[in-house]
């Protein structure tokens, strides 16, 4: 063993790991290639492939519709950007309401529970219709009856319920001894929550919240029920006019271009934080 080490200038573990790395690279490359080839070769042999290709992967349609889809995507981004912070804030408030320990504030807990139950249970479409058409229908004057405002509110109310539930699970997962420690130092309940419990809770639920925000990004599409022409509606209009599903592929490309870097970056941040602290 020891001579071998001398000979290569490496320990046997390093040699072993080099070998392992090489082998896994080969496995990775070959298995990926195999799957890839199988798809590339087998699928086009199916009798209907030409038609499916023309319906879903039509380059001409893609090129024609993509710029307009990209333009419509701006609206999605805008709605997301103003809804997301509101969702986080409202969700956090509801989660905090459900964690209240003062018996005199018990009604708050009940309200919080009722809120999450109802807004998670009611289909988003209904919330969007009810708030997006119903509230303006009560007789609001022009700038205040905009579907953008009320549609976003519907999204915010719904997603806040999901997000609150995730925050709550994070808060409950922080061990009670952390609260004791904070309280024993004389910190107020609010400070204990803000500086001790929440920072730990939030870190734990980042992946679950990422999940929700990726879902939200796509549910912005529900606003299109009440008028706003965002990327999905635009893709749907093209689909109908051109009788072709390719515009949805274009939309998917745009979404992937946003969500993949975002999740990778979030993962990277999480991993970095974990590394730094241990």
């Amino acid at each position: 063993m020891t001579d071998q080490k001398q000979a290569a200038g490496k320990t046997r573990r390093q040699l072993y790991e080099d070998r392992l790395r090489r082998r896994s690279m080969i496995i990775a490359a070959s298995s990926t290639l195999a799957v890839f080839l199988a798809v590339i070769i087998l699928v086009p042999m199916a009798p209907g492939w030409e038609k499916v290709k023309a319906s879903f992967f039509n380059w001409e349609v893609f090129a024609k519709t993509f710029p307009k889809l990209l333009a419509a995507f701006k609206l999605d981004v805008l709605i997301f950007l103003w809804s997301a912070p509101a969702i986080v804030i409202l969700g956090l408030l509801i989660a905090l309401a459900r964690d209240v320990r003062n018996p005199a504030l018990f009604p708050l807990r009940i309200l919080g529970a009722a809120y999450t139950d109802i807004f998670r249970g009611v289909p988003v479409v209904l919330t969007v219709y009810l708030i997006g058409f119903g509230v303006p229908g009560l007789g609001l004057p022009r700038p205040w009856n905009s579907p953008y405002i009320w549609g976003s509110l519907a999204l915010i109310l719904t997603y806040a319920a999901y997000v609150a539930e995730i925050f709550r699970s994070g808060i409950e997962s922080v061990h009670a001894s952390q609260r004791s420690a904070a309280q024993s130092l004389g910190l107020s309940d609010a400070d204990s929550m803000r500086f001790v419990i929440l920072p730990q809770a939030i870190r734990r639920v980042v992946p679950a919240q990422m999940n929700m925000f990726i879902a939200l990004q796509k549910d912005v599409a529900l606003l299109s029920f009440i008028g706003p022409v965002e990327i999905f509606r635009q893709a749907g209009v093209f689909k109908s006019l051109l009788a072709n599903f390719t515009p949805y592929v274009g939309a998917a490309v745009i979404f992937l271009a946003v969500t993949i870097p975002a999740t990778r970056y979030a993962d990277y941040l999480m991993a970095k934080q974990n590394r730094e602290r241990s």
């Binding site: 038609k51 058409f133 303006p136 299109s224 022409v229």
Partner: protein, 250 residues
Amino acid sequence: AGHCADGKTLTEGTLTIATGNPAYYPWVMDDAPESGNGFEAAVAYAVAEEMGFAADAVTWVRSSFDEAIQPGPKNFDFNLQQFSITEEREKVVDFSVPYYAAPMAVLASGNVKDTPAETEALKGLLWGAMGGTTAVPMLMDAIGPNKDPLLYGDNADVTAAMQANQIDAALFDLPTALYLSAVVVEGSAVIGQFPADRSENPDQFGMLLEEGNALKACVDEAIMSLKGSGKLDAIEAEWLQQTTGVPLIK
């Protein structure tokens, strides 16, 4: 007629016809095409008869627009739910010769029903339309509103938006517009129509068939024959309102 359709239908001896889910007034009355009431239901039975199918040899199925245009086999012989014939759609599916030419009309809410039927005046309104229809390109080309129009999934959503005062006007085919104005949106009015020849692609409804369906020739033949005999006009007169009272848009 005769045996043109023999061996070409989905199920031997019956004709499977698809319509929308739901099917709208005045095209189909009460969402019940089997009754033969309503313009499209009546046309369907007339065509079936021309092709040699008795009324009880007709089976109705429902289909969404998406199912109609998906690649692959269909579960209907032909499908009629106000499909406008367009060049792009022709690439994917087949259409029969048109059975109706629908002018587009403007439905305006009570607040703006005095707007003159002129393109310039109409530009300034807040517009809505049904997303998947040819009304959208028509609206953009013929009127070109100042503000981007809002687009909806179906008639009900458009009218709800109009009732919530979120849009001023919407574009529909004339029979639908007349129906909505009379029955659904209180206080609204149909303030103008585009003559059928006004746009480059006049809106013509055709029956949709699977690409390359051998039945197309039979269907075309049946419709031509109905046109020739004046039966089609009679059906139109029976089920669609008089459309002459609506002013033309200048």
